[in-house]
Symmetry: C2
């Protein structure tokens, strides 16, 4: 854990900041703290575009007097640089792709309207293709916990910034696991909502049918509060779904939690991670969960569709012009992955969809047998040196428990677990069917409160939020029929 | 209208046949009537495979005593030859594609279990590609009303057989309108259910994501009775949806019916069809409908995706091997259409899906403003000679009011209207959002009962079925979240 100076005296969680504001701290003070912390961390690869402090101070001044009705009043945040901020460049970590955004992404506009203060735009695996965080021509952010470990990606800068206590929360995006893997690697929460609940307007797509904005924060409560504000129906996003997020509650008294069975669980030989996951399962049992061991093979079959199947053609649609006119502008690993689409026909694309539909049907009994799944967010750790030796295999392995999730239209939340015996961060991800975002977040919060931990890479202590009584469990998801 | 001899003394509607069975007629008598009628019609191009009469007589004998608990007891039916019947060949109207089916298609099995008697397998536009019914190496069935007119397709033989009073009902399939256009051309009912409500197991696909089995019958009541029996969830069909059909009722007291406005309605200069449609709208008004004129441009934009967009690649997946190894085995018009897929990339396929999603969003306000749509089933008529002169344009024009329907996940029912002033059959199609099959069929039955008419090409009179009170209108469709 990095040592923090007196600079970071006010923990950046929403309750802590709002208590400070209520007590007379000014948002200008917090802006000072944020920029001092950025200087202290001194990792220029976190940001692709850091706002001038004067601009953020002005935005803070424009907020006027503290207004508790604005749920994000004075809350500093950062966004991944594939998400637009009005008047700022968007690069998707590719200088040749850069354009100046004319307006905020729809979700960014919701957050600013709720009082949040944008600090900057963060580094990423180029075009959000990767789970490692080192595939960027802008350098790569150092992992906030241990600089030898990769930061995780593709939302590398967004996760590292929150881990360091630079921002209260950040926006990432998640197609294959980009909003969860970096959370695990930086000891923070990664909320990957149901597809279509957060508008994609003003976001550079990766796979448009599978993408979502995701949220990093230091606590489940903060992440979910941001989700509730960000979740607003946008008629201009053709993939948007009408959805009302339920409130966080205590965990339901009966919950069936599926975990990978002994034959299908995979740690790539990392016995410390195996022990960590066992410990997390024990915490769930102590919270009243019934554990059901499940053969994950059908889910892994789905996962393989993402990079081995036709969906890579979605990424190709985004950068086809660049690949044809200026291929050297694309990161070589990204180029190798995305160019595969050139050998995939339209018939292959439909065959891929048929195969996915068959696999979805085969996976249905799994979700019918449980309320949620609990998986290790990542199966093991990889270092920067590992990625230098092999830029592909560690990336694929990182996706073991994430790649199938969006293809199966599940929601997810990655949450810190007990620190591993080697001091690396523990993390599990809770998964449920579309629309159960409130359920997974509620159970995640129960889990989080049972894990003694400090927040991210900071020395701030976790403080539990009081929980409401559990809701009656919903039989049906109130999401409209789609496509 | 063709003159029927004394042979066809018993009208083949389900209520009429069941009354005859109750009164002592034997199913063997009806089998005799059916085969005598086939001989009388004397159009060998209706069937690709007609069962031996002895086999049907045996099936009739196996039924035992009349059992009113079997809703299709002793009811003769035929199926399009892209649907399997156990032990019989399936050709999809392509001799080189022929295989012997090991078992009944899932839907055929449901119908036989309910007592229905399979008579034969019918001709079609090869691989269900076409709306005209003349694209088959097995010749083409003559239109049952007027042999100069095309029979309509792709479910040509299935529609003509019902029109002639050879079978009580038939199965077709419908991707672009193959279950509706031939209904209009043969003065019968064509029920095109919500996608996924009838199993696709044992059906040769056209566009697997857009196909459904459809039902032809002489009356709405018969078609819907068959639908209720055929509709059973099949876990082996990955695109199946769990759905329970509501009962037919009287029309709701308030119903908002959308029709194409003056600028977007299209009859290709056929003023007789224009007058016929006006007359149908008047009947709806007399039944209590509020008519809302709608700009259909967004729906036509969707329609164009079907053949101009990526979906032709779905057809390609079905016959790729044949096109590569034995291209001359494919009908030249079909080959020209389907081969276009070779120039469409996987990226194009996804771009097509994005475009469709955008168009779906643009079309949403249309369905939000009405309960159902009412359209002419076909905009005009084409003769066999027209198709010989131009095999493509008349086919495209036939799809004006049908091509967008499955892409937008609507259900539909084509129903006979008042005979046109030139004695050609009138027909309208009622359309609603997925899952509203009971609503469109109920309103279709009200409409049908207000139209004095004989059934198909027969001299049998229409007899109204008593109607139950209307159900409370459903706010939400109980179809599970998909895709």
């Amino acid at each position: 854990m990095s040592q923090m100076s007196q600079i970071s005296k006010t923990p950046l969680t929403i309750p802590s900041l709002h208590a400070a504001y209520q007590a007379g701290t000014s948002p200008a003070d917090i802006v000072e703290q944020v920029y001092a912390r950025i200087a202290e961390v001194n990792d220029p690869a976190i940001f692709i575009h850091l706002l001038d402090k004067s601009e953020v101070r002005q935005a803070a001044a424009d907020l006027g007097a503290f207004d508790p009705a604005k749920p994000l009043w004075g809350i500093p945040f950062v966004i991944k640089d594939n998400i637009d901020a009005g008047g700022k460049p968007t690069t998707a970590a590719c200088p040749a792709y850069e354009y100046e955004a004319t307006e905020d992404a729809y979700v960014v506009a919701q957050l600013r309207a709720a009082g949040a203060l944008l600090i900057g735009k963060t580094n990423l695996d180029q075009f959000a293709t990767g789970l490692v965080g080192v595939r960027s021509p802008y350098g790569f952010p150092k992992n906030s916990i241990d600089p030898d470990i990769v930061p995780g990606g593709s939302s590398s800068g967004s996760a590292v910034a929150v881990g360091h206590g630079i921002a209260t929360f950040s926006l990432g995006t998640d197609t294959a696991g980009s909003g969860r893997v970096p959370a695990a690697l930086n000891n923070i929460v990664g909320l990957k909502p149901t597809l279509g609940t957060l508008s994609a307007t003003g976001v550079v797509p990766a796979c448009r049918t599978l993408d979502t904005i995701s949220i990093f924060a230091l606590t489940v409560s903060d992440a979910y509060a941001v989700f509730e504000i960000a979740n607003a129906y946008d008629a201009k996003d053709a993939y948007a779904r009408r959805f009302t997020a339920g409130a966080l509650t205590a965990a339901p008294s009966k919950m069936r939690v599926g975990i990978p069975d002994a034959n299908s669980i995979e740690f790539f030989g990392d016995n410390v991670q195996k022990a960590s996951f066992r410990q997390s399962v024990d915490i769930l049992v102590q919270s009243g969960a019934e554990i059901i061991e499940i053969d994950f093979t059908p889910l892994y079959d789905v996962a393989r569709m993402l990079y081995e199947g036709a969906w890579v053609a979605e990424r190709y649609t985004v950068i086809e012009d660049l690949l044809k006119t200026n291929p050297d502008a694309v990161h070589p690993v990204t180029r190798a992955i995305v160019s595969k689409a050139e050998t995939i026909s339209s018939a292959d694309a439909f065959r891929g969809m048929y195969r996915l539909q068959d696999l979805k049907r085969a996976a249905e009994p799994i979700m019918a047998a449980v309320d949620i799944l609990c998986v290790p967010t990542i199966p093991t750790f990889y270092t920067v040196a590992d990625l230098e030796a092999d830029p592909v295999t560690p990336n694929s392995n990182f996706g073991t428990y994430t790649n199938f999730v969006n293809l199966l239209d599940m929601c997810a939340i990655a949450v810190p677990a007990v620190k591993r015996s080697d001091s690396r961060p523990g993390s599990v991800t809770l998964l449920a069917s579309a629309g159960q975002d409130d359920l997974v977040a509620s159970i995640a919060q129960v889990f989080e409160s049972a894990v003694p931990h400090t927040l991210g890479a900071t020395s701030w202590s976790y403080e539990a939020t009081p929980l409401a009584a559990p809701q009656a469990q919903k039989d049906e998801i109130e999401i409209a029929v789609c496509g």
